[in-house]
Amino acid sequence: MKIRAAMVGDKVEVKVLMAHEMETGQRKDSKGAVIPAWFIQNVTATVNGRTVLSAEWGPAVAKNPFLSFRFSGGKPGDKVVITWTDNHGDKRTDEAIVAG
C-alpha cells in the first residue's frame, strides 16, 4: 500500500493506493473457467486508535483501488493506519504520518 496523508485546510486528506487484483468472480479465463472472486471486503482507517473510516467493498471496486478521503480532528504528526481484509482472509496493514 502507498499512503499519503497531508493537511488540507483543517482536515487531513488521506490517499491510499492498494495493490490488489479485485477479481469480480464474473470473468472467465481463456479455457472458459470462471476466475474465482478475490476482492477486498473491508477497509478501516484509524488515527491514534480512533476509527476515521470504515468501508465495505464489493466486486464493483476496480483493480489496484485508489482511495481518497478527508477527516477532521487530525494534525501533522498523527499516525494514520489503514487495514484491508479480502474474501480470502488475507489482511494487509500500512501506516503513514500526516504531513504538515
Partner: protein
Amino acid sequence: MDRNRKVAAALLLAGALGAGSIAAQEKSSALQEIEKYRAALGDDNPAELWEARGEGIWKEKRGPKNASLEKCDLGLGPGVVKGAYTVLPKYFEDSGKVEDLESRLVTCMENLQGLAPAEAKKDPFGGPGKKVPMDALVAYIVSQSRGMKMNVAATNPKEIEAYELGRRIFFYHGGPHDFACETCHGADGKRIRLQDLPNLTKTSDVQHTYSTWPAYRVSEGEVRTMQWRLKDCFRQQRFPELEYVSPASVALTMFLAKSANGVVLNAPAVKR
C-alpha cells in the same frame, strides 16, 4: 448590415467545419473522465506499485549465477539508474548492438544473471493475476529519469543506422490494410474511436507522447512499456507480430526517442 451578417455566418460555418483536433474544440467525454481520474489521483499513480516492485527485482539475486541486476550498464555506466532512460536507445560495446531499455535488461539478465535468452524474454507483459519482472523493472528505471530531459545521442554509426531504419519502418506501408505508422500518426487531428492520435511527424506531439510512456493503462490495470505499445500498434495494423526487443522494435524506438529529444520525461504516466 446584411453583408456583415452573411460574413459572420460564413465565418461561423467555416469555424465549425474547419475544426482542429477533438482536443482543440470540446474534449471527448472519455478524455474528460480520464482527466478527472488524474486530478483525483493527484501525485499518486498506480504505477508506483510497479516502481516499488521493480526496485526490489533490480536488487534481487536471480538466475543460475545468483546475481542481481545492480551492475547492469543501462547507458551511464554499471549500476547507474538515475537518468539512464534519457540516453536510451544507445549502442553498447558488450552486445555489439543498439539497445533500448528492455533490450538492455534482457542482455543484463543473460550476462549478469545467466538466464537463457528465451527465459529472459519470456512473458514480458503482465496481465490479470500475472505479475512479471520486466514491466516492474521498466517502471522503476524510468521513474529514476522522471523530470529529466530526453538526451539520445545517436552519434555512433550504428545508432544513426537504427534511427534511419526506424524512420523507414515508420513510413513503410504493409500488411493486409496497407497501413504504416504514418497512416494513423502522420497528420494532425486524427482519432480512432475515442482516442486522439498524436502526429508523430510533428516534434511537439512526438515529444509529448514519448514523455508519457511507459504508463499505467487504467483500462488494463497494468503498466505498459514502449515495447508493448509498439507491439500493440503492429497488432492493430494487422502486421506480423513485432518480436520482443527485436532490432526492428529498437529501431522504431530510436526513431521516436531521438525525435523527442529535449522533452522533459513525465513517466511512468497514467493513461486510459
